[in-house]
Symmetry: C2
Subunit: 401 residues, 2 copies
């Protein structure tokens, strides 16, 4: 088994074509409609937001996956409008998007998945989707993954694409993906929008398990601002075009490649988090259980005081301890430790403030690692976040104006 | 029973004197040592942070209240240094602060309570406390409550004082208080620092119950940034100097006055929250239980997307729905409603976007009310928070530099 992370995206695996066009949904005329098509029906799996206010496209995609038994030919995605909290009318629009796409692609409607991202609570202009769809179909190409990745962006400062190659049963296969997301990012069992393809053949139950496994330590381990959106979705399509087939024996190879792609995309989201200037890796060790490790790491990664201190380059380890202490996990102050980069600042109940200048120098970098040992056990967890800057406030105070 | 909120503070009740002096702990030479003394031993109750990293003064005050059976003569408080995460040495310093105060005031050491606030993890300079204490004793006065309220401030933009008068069993009695707090504010069963006095006589179990009752809907219902500090403390001293005695029959009158003082102080903390420009009242209705109502209200009040939208004057009700949906409470999108001021923006599954201009006009004000109906039951909860501004980031990125 070899896994390599390569440049590429959703059209890196064989038998997938994509397009990104401008349908006029975004006021600035940018790309806002993406279409992804598999040449043959692909096995499909997805994870969706657990937000109780689920957007219309989430409801439609979930229903289609159930009706099709996990098969998809096409994914239609618009940016600029989330089609969330839009009532029965929004549901009709999402259904019509799927039906129009199915007619153009030539497949049953339940083989089309739908996703939307943008402002919540605004009606999605169906006429613009309808006039954009034929252009998207004409633009479809095996070299158009990058355009699709741009067409799903909202406040993202750059597109997120990744691909991995692996060998399964002696055959080369690949996994490719694209994602969007910058604010309202703390996926809960699912995430923002991400679309992943593979040309391996993977039976549906195994594909489903692989997606959940890969998402747990990637998309579900990032946070920008502790917010879980109404539209979070990760979809994975496996069309078998490489001739490689994944069974239980090749599961680890496949999930390794899949996890690599998911991690690249997830880190891209954090690097491009609203207002972000630094990528922060938060590792919690010494936890009583994996769940408590994850809970403490998320609490630290979501702390505005930790995130502003890192933004300001201040090795204020006391804030890390204070968050660990309030995270609702077992915590022993006398055994706890805080490390910034490789510099220990607090250990066995005592500060090492003489180390603060070295940590302050380290914090000038763009990639920051902080670690907290809870002193309560052996479990660990790593999550990724970004710093909190005045730019985050500016972006979100002015989002709709 | 009459309750009136009046200007005043910890020395408004009879038989209390206070002082605020500069002991040189703050680098800028500001007031940083406060002393509060009751002429006679007072019945005392306190609630402390539930953060697992409890500061030395929290440990010492808790132990003294246990040893004394709920009696106190004096409270010694410093700002500029939290004496938290400072190990055995920090504990010795807190104990010495109490012992020195007891000797000067002339009372048993367990009748002295201690509190500290400021940077975490830095050693508290005992020599400065010791040289400041005699000056504080000399400065004690029944008209020095305002100086004490200034001496406990850190990043607070203004001091917080309040008082209330009530009649108990035909006798006039009063309750007074002071508080500090601006950042690291989401009290969990306790809060920042607040010191409350009353000249009513209140038996200890009743005093304890009254404090918990009053704190639940005041200090525990506010949040600035979702952070719970290592030093959160509310102390209440009742010295009986008014001749009024609270028994079960007068409990409601007393707790009404106490709640009034706590609410004034708590709202003062939110108004003076780090970077705050608006006071925001978040009301959740239609919840399945009071706990779920509180959880949803806290989630909304802590949401950076809601707080930045309010900062920017954007009636972005979709963010309120999105937070309610992820708050882990029962929620029915089809019955939910969002109101900003008195303007309904979302109801019965449908937006009222024609109302957005009116809500935008309302959001230009300094006192903002938002309400979300979860459509799931009859329970309600109100919490208070402030908006999130770029100034919050500036304050906390530069806190120690």
């Amino acid at each position: 088994m070899t896994v390599g992370i390569a440049s590429g995206g959703v059209t890196t695996p064989q038998g997938f074509r994509a397009a990104g066009v401008s349908a006029g949904i975004k006021a600035n005329g940018g790309l806002d409609l993406a279409l992804l098509v598999s040449e043959t029906p692909a096995t499909a799996a997805a994870v969706f937001t657990i937000n109780r206010a689920q957007a219309a496209p989430v409801l439609v995609s979930r229903e289609h996956l159930t009706r099709s038994g996990g098969v998809a030919r096409a994914v239609i995605v618009n940016s600029g409008c989330a089609n969330a909290c839009t009532g029965d009318e929004g549901l009709q629009i999402a259904n019509t998007m799927a039906a129009d796409t199915a007619r153009l692609v030539g497949c049953p409607v339940e083989h089309v998945l739908v996703a939307s991202t943008g402002v919540i609570g605004v009606a999605l202009p169906l006429d613009k989707i309808r006039s954009g769809l034929p252009a998207a179909l004409r633009a479809l190409g095996a070299n158009q993954g990058a355009a699709a990745a741009r067409a799903i962006m909202t406040t993202d400062p750059f597109p997120k694409e990744a691909a991995a190659r692996t060998t399964i049963g002696g055959r080369d296969a690949s996994v490719g993906g694209m994602a969007k997301g910058s604010g309202m990012i703390e996926p809960m069992m699912a995430t923002m929008l991400a679309f992943i393809t593979t040309d391996a053949a993977v039976p549906q139950p195994l594909l489903d398990r692989a997606l959940r496994d890969a998402v747990h330590d990637t998309f579900n381990a990032i946070t920008v601002d502790g917010e879980c959106s109404t539209n979070d979705t990760v979809m994975l399509l496996a069309n078998g075009a490489s001739g490689a087939t994944v069974d239980a024996g090749q599961y680890d190879a496949f999930v390794g490649a899949l996890r690599g792609v998911c991690l690249e995309l997830a880190l891209g989201i954090v690097r491009g988090g609203e207002g972000a200037t630094k990528l922060v890796t938060v590792t919690v060790t010494g936890a009583a259980s994996p769940e408590e490790a994850r809970r403490a790491a998320k609490a630290i990664a979501n702390s505005p005081l930790v995130k502003t201190a890192i933004h300001g380059g201040d090795p204020n380890w006391g804030r890390l301890i204070a968050v660990a202490g309030r995270a609702g996990v077992e915590f022993d102050l006398g055994r706890a430790a805080v490390t910034i980069g490789s510099t220990v600042l607090f250990e066995a109940g005592k500060p090492h403030d003489d180390n603060a200048p070295r940590a302050a120098e380290y914090l000038k970098g763009k990639e920051i690692a902080v670690a907290v040992d809870l002193g309560a056990g052996r479990a660990t967890s790593t999550v990724w976040t970004c710093d909190l800057s005045a730019e985050y406030v500016r972006i979100n105070a002015d989002y709709r104006t």
